[in-house]
């Protein structure tokens, strides 16, 4: 093998191993892994299973909230959420029908809401504004209407 070839192969290996190590450090040491909840739920009985029998917002601390949310074609329940600036919000979500997505535009909040599974994610809103919340997985003919807002005051 040519010397340049060896250098290039070494650089390639270092790149791949380096990326792997960085992602591992971020995921396990800094707790920045993607949402990977293992909790399941019967998708046909969401309405009668706690906590989704009572979707809504609960204040659980100083500027700390818990939102129990169901997603269904083509809406979020509850919708039009409002929190004070600097709030930390814990979302607990599931789907009542097909696969949905939930994304808060302008943040890194991006999750798949799959029927049968519960997804938990936490987001801190440090700045005031009207955040757009959209379903970003195709869920039917009204998919483009499935949106709401989170207003931070």
């Amino acid at each position: 093998m040519h010397r340049y070839e060896k250098i290039w192969l070494t650089v390639s290996s270092v790149l791949i191993i380096g990326f792997t190590l960085i992602v591992g450090y971020q995921a396990f040491a800094m707790d920045l892994g993607p949402p990977s909840d293992m909790e399941t739920i019967d998708p046909q009985k969401v309405d009668s299973t706690a906590p989704f029998d009572e979707p809504g917002i609960t204040q659980i601390g100083d500027k700390e909230y818990e939102v129990v949310m169901t997603l269904q074609a083509f809406s979020f329940t509850p919708r039009d959420l409002e929190f004070p600036e600097g709030s930390t919000v814990h979302f607990i979500m599931t789907s009542k029908d097909v696969v949905h997505g939930m994304q808060i535009a302008g943040t890194n909040f991006n999750a798949m809401i799959t029927p049968g599974h519960v997804t938990r994610m936490t987001q801190t809103f440090d700045e005031a504004g009207d955040f757009l919340v959209i379903c970003n997985e195709f869920c039917g003919t009204g998919h483009e209407m499935m949106s709401t807002e989170i207003n931070i005051r």
Binding site: G33, P34, M38, T141, S147
Partner: protein, 570 residues
């Protein structure tokens, strides 16, 4: 044909040789060429249809064009995906590799040719069945058809027929290769046929996963034989196929880079052994790559996802080797033509040759596409771009530029080759401009998609103002740019399809070469045979698949979520 005139006046000894070649061309290989032509016609017709649907989406999304209720955005999108992802690419791949096998393995046998035709008609029937269901509004489920959305059972039967056709085409390749090996004991399979075997091995084994999803899960469920479906298992089986499929087109494109480019630029091929190593690595490592489509899915634990970050990243390794190989052959060819200095070779490349330019832009765009792919395999970056227009930009760079532009570059010599015609200098110029127009259009569209996706604009979404939200309206200028790029692309596609049909039916008759580069090592040295042990590579491939899939799939089945009944939300 001017065969008679060509033979007259040639010395007796050469006459026999020419007669042989003519016989080959008029007889067996002529029949093979007809088969390849049929595949190319379907491929480029579906490219035209798919591209027009793409334009409709671009215009609709920017708010410039309203779609009727009986053919809504999602029906357009489903058809666009099916035509371009399943039909255009696979028909091109089969036509190209069958022509390549006919050329390098002394013609297709009668049995294999029949298999090729049977595959052709099975796939056509499947495609018509599947697309008809989309058109009548019974299958608005996009080409990923994620359960629990349930289309009509005919849609899935159409997909099944497509897969059956794919299997037949795979067997045709395997039989041809086995036959040749038996007749040429101890010799390496000619390089283009080696690539074909790699591509079809991947196609065969990855399609087993989607066949399992459709046959054992979805069809019994849509027929009501079982009440519910395991959504996560279905998604996982789909992506084991879905992502591999894109890598199969990439492998098809790469075969032209390694084998065809050297001949066109008058340089040597890259090391024959290392080329084969690249193919083998792509085959062995590929199928687990689908998992990174599920990085933000629930129901898969973090350690499993982390293992898959590595298993997806490592597929980049053979591609990094390819990057080296391409610059290597460029430099070799340039220096052979007297290039001086560190970068002098760059000027010596045949820039005016459309066959080269299309391939070069395809390779260059893979630097962007490959980097984007690496970004998506990583947890946090994936979470930022997941399901946004960024992803759409990414696969238009990789499929629309890297794969499709290579296919265009190949069509400029393959179509006249199988049609007994020539690429004239005038058509070469036209093809050159086609390449430029297409490259400009798709670059604008894809780069803007990447950017607006980062801002949060979602993929797979019809025109919407999200109730006048300010963030959503800030995306509007970018959506207009995307529509502009799509318009330029459409002009490029019309030019390309015109080129293909001109070269097939109108160009002057003659012989166009099937350009296959010479091995750098030459034919003098006997090369080691270990690269040809396909049974070993397939075994290693299954070991990789087992490592990737056994634990998460068992977890999804044993501790999986209660199933979902069929849903129709369109």
């Amino acid at each position: 044909m001017t065969n008679q005139q060509t033979i007259e006046g040639i010395p007796q000894t050469e006459k026999g040789h020419v007669k042989d070649r003519l016989k080959k061309f008029m007889g067996v290989q002529r029949k093979d060429a007809t088969l390849a032509k049929a595949y190319m016609i379907v491929s480029f017709v579906s490219l035209l249809l798919g591209a027009l649907l793409g334009l409709v989406q671009g215009l609709n999304r920017a708010g410039l064009f309203e779609l009727p209720y009986w053919f809504n955005y999602y029906q357009v999108l489903t058809s666009h995906g099916l035509l371009l992802v399943l039909i255009f690419t696979s028909f091109f791949m089969i036509g190209y590799f069958y022509a390549g096998i006919s050329n390098t393995l002394d013609g297709l046998s009668n049995g294999v040719r029949k298999l090729g035709w049977s595959a052709f008609w099975t796939k056509i029937a499947g495609a018509l069945l599947a697309v008809s269901q989309v058109l009548i509004g019974e299958a608005t489920v996009l080409y990923t058809f994620y359960p629990p959305m349930a289309a009509s059972v005919w849609f899935y039967l159409g997909l099944t027929l497509i897969v059956l056709g794919i299997w037949q085409s795979c067997f045709g390749v395997f039989i041809s290769a086995a036959k040749w090996r038996k007749a040429n004991k101890g010799q390496r399979l000619p390089i283009l046929a080696f690539f074909a075997v790699g591509g079809f091995v991947l196609l065969f084994f990855s399609s087993l996963f989607v066949a399992a999803e459709v046959l054992f899960m979805i069809i019994p469920w849509t027929l009501g034989w079982v009440e519910t479906i395991n959504v996560m298992v279905a998604r996982t089986l789909f992506w084991a196929f879905g992502h591999t499929l894109v890598n199969i087109w990439y492998l098809t494109a790469v075969s032209a880079w390694y084998v065809i480019t050297p001949k066109i630029i008058d340089g040597p091929r890259f090391s024959d052994t290392l080329t084969r190593v690249v193919v083998v690595l792509l085959v062995v490592l590929n199928i687990p790559g689908g998992f990174h489509h599920q990085i933000v899915d629930p129901g898969i634990s973090e350690p499993i996802k982390y293992m898959h970050v590595y298993m997806s990243l490592v597929i980049g390794f053979p591609s990094l080797m390819t990057a080296y190989a391409m610059f290597y052959i460029f430099e070799k060819s340039g220096r052979k033509k007297g290039a001086k200095g560190l970068f002098g070779w760059f000027k010596k490349l045949p820039w005016k040759d459309a066959r080269f330019l299309a391939l070069f832009i395809a390779m260059a765009s893979f630097i962007v596409g490959g980097a984007g792919g690496i970004a998506q395999t990583m947890h946090q970056l994936n979470q930022v771009v997941h399901n946004s227009l960024w992803v759409v930009g990414h696969f238009h760079v990789t499929l629309g530029m890297t794969a499709a532009m290579t296919f265009f570059g190949v069509s400029y010599w393959l179509i006249p080759h199988i049609s007994g015609r020539q690429l004239t200098p005038k058509m070469n110029r036209f093809a050159w401009w086609t390449t430029i127009v297409w490259a400009i259009g798709i670059s604008i569209m894809s780069l803007v998609m990447h950017y607006v996706g980062l801002l949060g604009a979602p993929r797979r979404t019809a025109f919407t103002e999200y109730m006048g939200n300010a963030t959503a309206s800030s995306w509007d200028p970018y959506l207009l740019l995307i529509a502009g790029g799509a318009t330029i692309m459409t002009i490029g596609i019309i030019m390309q399809v015109y080129t293909v049909f001109h070269l097939m039916f109108r160009a002057p008759k003659g012989e166009e070469e099937f350009p296959i580069g010479e091995a750098e090592e030459g034919n003098a040295i006997k090369l080691p045979y270990w690269t040809e042990r396909w049974s070993v590579w397939i075994l290693l491939m299954w070991a990789t698949i087992a490592m990737a899939y056994v634990v998460p799939l068992v977890e999804m089945m044993i501790n999986g979520a209660p199933g979902s009944p069929p849903q129709r939300t369109w």
